[in-house]
Structures are given as structure tokens and as C-alpha cells.
């Protein structure tokens, strides 16, 4: 086996096995900190040994065994951890034996613990990327433009709270499951959006590492919860959004809006997979949640070979459905964009203007107004709206696009 093959095997094992190793050790030792350290040590040992000894036939088994040994060594070394071991045993004892079925995949317990509502939202994101995604603390710190030490402390504090307050390591009871799943999906959507609309002046406009990680985790959650419509909906939404990524930022670094994108540059395989999921959800006959409706809207867009072929009445109908699920001003704003295509910019502008109080600090509100005013030939007002949008926008590609649109007005 060539060194390149070994490296590839280690990378693949890290992708496939990290969460499983952490999850299985957390269950055994009842402590995320012990599990995380031992898993990291096991992967470091693999990097050391596999090039000489060869890749073991069952890399996951090898990693779990090695990590288990490391954890036991550590607990023996630190005699004061005796208390922790006892606590871990107690923790296991009141845990009923897992029933068979995909929901009892240990990784799912890990995800629910990392996304527990008693942790702050940004902590849930960081902990999920570390424990489930296997990203390192420096990688997570870079992704969220936070100092490495600050990110390390955030994760350490979270682990301490989980231990001290006894945040349980299990899949929530059926009654709590929908709310808790929606919390997990919200964390994954946060990761995806930070990748898709990265903020910060020195940042790439699209962070493909984050969108890819979010999709990988969404695939995992979808596999673990195959009956959950919203898990499928969120994955479809991410796939159909990610599919357009190659066409979304021009070589000049400027954002390309949907109606001007080169649709032949879209990723056909991702579009097909997203459409398949949307069709599957439609066929289920179960009333869709927010992510499923958003995915369906994206499916309508990605079904049109040309922007002019977009079925806008279908888009507006789906937004009507979304408004009933989520009557927020942001949804109303997006609906107005579709209404402009169906009923004209004047009708849309009237709706948008009514949202001014709620969305005055939201750059997309001003950008939408600017485009509508421009189409109505109200150039001075459009220019002022572009200025307001620019003052609030944080994404470099978006800023470049808005600047050009404003300057075109002369």
C-alpha cells in the first residue's frame, strides 16, 4: 500500500469512524472529555502505525479498541478520577438496554447530547462539529472567526456543564423527540448557512468546508432518523442549495443572483438527489414542515432549465404554505420576491414596505427594496436602498454585487 493510500485510508476512517468511536466511548465511560481525548489519541496512533504496520482489515474496530485502551490507561493513571468512573457506572446503570433499530445508533445519542437545549446555541454548534464532525478546535475557531483559546474554552465549559448538570446521553423520549430533533436540525442549518453566506471582511464568500460538513452531518441524521420528514427536508434543502454553489460567485468574486446563474454549472447529481428527497416527502402524504417546504421551493427553482421557465405561481403557493408554518417577516420578504415575478414589482413593493419596522436592520430587506425600486424606475430611492443594504451586508460577494448594482444607476 502506497503512503498516499494509507493517508487516504486514515482520512476516510476519520470521516466514517470518528463519531462512532467518540459515541461508543462516551457510552462506556460516561464522559465526553475522556471519549474525545482517547479518540484523538487513537487516530494519532493510527497516523503513526498504519504506514508501517499496514491499514487494519477493520479500521473502525481497531480505532475503537485502541481508544478504549487509551481511555482505561488514562483513568487508571488519574486515580482521582475514581469518582468519575463510579459516576460513569451509575450513569450506565439507569440506562435501559438499547432496543434494536436505527434510532439506537450511539451516534444519535451523541448528537442529542451535543445539541441539548440547556447549552447555548453557539456552544451546540461548536460541540457538534467537534464531537460528531471530528473537526479540531483550531478548525472550528477559524470557521467562526473566534480565537482558538476562546473556542477551546467554550467546548471545555460545555463538557464541564454536561458532566456537572448530568445532561443525559440518550435519545429523548418519544414525546420530546420532535422538539429535540428540530433543535438538532437547527444546529446543522446554522453550520450550513455560515458556510453558504460566510460573514466577515477577510473571509471567502462561500466556505465549502462548512457546507460540506453540514451536509455530511445532515446525511447522518437522515440515516439515523429515516422516518423524520424534516430531516429529509433539511438534507434536500442543503443539497439543492449546494448544487448551485459553482454558479453562485463569479470569477470577479461577485455574487450572481439566481436568475443570472449559468444553470449548466449546477451540480446535476446533487439536484437529482435533492429532487428525489422532495418527491419522496410529497409521496408520503404527511403535512410538510418548514424545511420540506423550503426544499420544495428550491426544487421548483432547480427544475427550470432557464430562469424564465420558473413556475412562479408554484413558488408563491409554497411561500403561502410557509407563511402559515412560519409567519416571520423574513419569510414574508422572500414571498414578496416571488410575488414580484407573478404580480409585478409594484404589488411586491407595497408588501415589502410594510415590513420596514421589523426588518430595518436586515440587509436583504434593503437589497430587495432596491431591486424593486430600480425596476419601477425610481432610481434615487433605489440608490439610497442599495446604500442601506451595503451598510448592513457582511458577505464579501454580496457587497461586490450590491456595489455594482448601485453604481450602474449612475
Amino acid at each position: 500500500m502506497s503512503p498516499a493510500d494509507v493517508t487516504e485510508a486514515i482520512v476516510r476512517a476519520h470521516h466514517d469512524e470518528w463519531a462512532r468511536v467518540v459515541a461508543s466511548l462516551t457510552r462506556r465511560f460516561g464522559d465526553l472529555d475522556v471519549a474525545e481525548d482517547a479518540a484523538a489519541e487513537a487516530f494519532a496512533t493510527a497516523v503513526e502505525r498504519w504506514p508501517a504496520d499496514g491499514v487494519p482489515p477493520n479500521p473502525g474496530g481497531w480505532l475503537t479498541t485502541t481508544a478504549n485502551r487509551r481511555a482505561i490507561d488514562r483513568l487508571r493513571r488519574e486515580s482521582k478520577r475514581g469518582e468519575k468512573q463510579r459516576a460513569a457506572l451509575m450513569w450506565q446503570d439507569d440506562d435501559p438496554a438499547p432496543a434494536p433499530g436505527p434510532v439506537d445508533d450511539e451516534r444519535l445519542r451523541l448528537i442529542f447530547t451535543c445539541c441539548h437545549p440547556a447549552l447555548a446555541p453557539e456552544t451546540r454548534v461548536a460541540l457538534t462539529l467537534r464531537m460528531v464532525g471530528g473537526l479540531t478546535v483550531p478548525e472550528i475557531a477559524r470557521a467562526f472567526l473566534v480565537q482558538e483559546t476562546a473556542m477551546g474554552q467554550r467546548i471545555t465549559r460545555a463538557k464541564a456543564k454536561i458532566r456537572a448538570a448530568r445532561i443525559p446521553y440518550r435519545v429523548p423520549a418519544a414525546g420530546d423527540l420532535p422538539a429535540r430533533v428540530s433543535g438538532v436540525l437547527a444546529v446543522l442549518f446554522l453550520v450550513f448557512n455560515e458556510g453558504y453566506l460566510a460573514t466577515g471582511p477577510g473571509t471567502d464568500p462561500v466556505r465549502a468546508d462548512l457546507t460540506a460538513e453540514a451536509i455530511r452531518l445532515a446525511r447522518l441524521v437522515r440515516t439515523l432518523l429515516p422516518e423524520d420528514g424534516e430531516a429529509a427536508g433539511l438534507l434536500a434543502l442543503m443539497l439543492l442549495t449546494e448544487a448551485r454553489r459553482p454558479a453562485r460567485v463569479a470569477a470577479s468574486g461577485e455574487l450572481v443572483p439566481l436568475d443570472r446563474q449559468d444553470r449548466s454549472a449546477w451540480d446535476g447529481a446533487l439536484v437529482a438527489e435533492g429532487h428525489r428527497l422532495v418527491r419522496e416527502r410529497l409521496a408520503s402524504g404527511v403535512a410538510p414542515g418548514r424545511y420540506q417546504v423550503l426544499a420544495a421551493i428550491n426544487a421548483v427553482h432547480t427544475s427550470a432549465p432557464d430562469a424564465r421557465d420558473t413556475d412562479w405561481s408554484q413558488v408563491v403557493a409554497l411561500y403561502d404554505q410557509l407563511v402559515r408554518l412560519d409567519p416571520s417577516p423574513v419569510v414574508a420578504l422572500n414571498r414578496a420576491v416571488a410575488v414580484a415575478e407573478l404580480d409585478g414589482p409594484e404589488v411586491a413593493l407595497a408588501t415589502v414596505d410594510r415590513l420596514g419596522d421589523a426588518l430595518a436592520r436586515y440587509h436583504a430587506f434593503h437589497a430587495t427594496r432596491a431591486e424593486l425600486l430600480r425596476r419601477l424606475g425610481r432610481d434615487p430611492e433605489a440608490r439610497a436602498a442599495y446604500d442601506e443594504a451595503l451598510a448592513l451586508a457582511g458577505n464579501t460577494a454580496e457587497t461586490a454585487y450590491l456595489t455594482r448594482r448601485r453604481d450602474e444607476l449612475g
Binding site: D94, P117, A165, R166, I167, P168
Partner: protein, 108 residues
């Protein structure tokens, strides 16, 4: 596992009869479920006295709470619960019963 559950209030002596009745019902449930350890209401923060005898000299006795805040602890429970999920589920009902915010904090 034991949790200290603090009742957060921004007024003093604000409990109503309805609230007291609801808390009694909730307390019976705590006892029946094996969660009850302790409960007590507190007099207003203005009745507190702070004592500091860490120094070498005479102990310093100060009138009033150690920190003035808009919100204060008006009462407390100690609950026995298997884990935070169980404690938080109880707190959802407890908060409704006493019509106050609750802080749930684990003992070491």
C-alpha cells in the same frame, strides 16, 4: 443527583393565593414522584445581613443583600432527579405552578 431550584422574582411578597394552591399541588407531585428533598420561601432581600470575618479584625456585619439586583431569589427547592432532562421537565411544571422563572443548578 440533586438540583437546587431557585425561584426568580422581581417583586417581593408577590405570591397570590392561587399560586400558593398551585405550588401545594405541585409539591405533592414532587413527593409522590420521589423528587422532594427540601423547599422554602425566602423573606425579601432587604432583610438579609452579610457577615465577613475573613479578616484579622472584628467581623464586619453589613445590612442588606451581598449584591443588589433587579431580580432576586424568592424561594428555593432541592430536587432529586435522575438527570437534567428530568429536572428540566419538572421545572417546566414548577415554573407554571408558582408563576415565576426557575433556575436549575446541579449540586457537586
Amino acid at each position: 443527583m440533586q438540583y437546587l431550584v431557585s425561584v426568580i422574582d422581581d417583586r417581593t411578597a408577590s405570591g397570590t393565593d392561587e399560586e400558593m394552591a398551585a405550588i401545594d399541588v405541585f409539591n405533592d407531585r414532587l413527593r409522590a414522584g420521589g423528587h422532594w428533598v427540601f423547599a422554602g420561601g425566602l423573606a425579601s432581600p432587604g432583610t438579609a445581613t452579610v457577615v465577613d470575618s475573613r479578616g484579622d479584625g472584628a467581623p464586619v456585619v453589613t445590612d442588606g443583600p451581598f449584591v443588589e439586583t433587579k431580580e432576586h431569589v424568592a424561594g428555593l427547592w432541592v430536587w432529586e432527579a435522575a438527570d437534567l432532562d428530568e429536572a428540566l421537565a419538572l421545572a417546566v411544571d414548577g415554573s407554571k405552578a408558582c408563576h415565576r422563572k426557575l433556575e436549575v443548578r446541579p449540586f457537586l
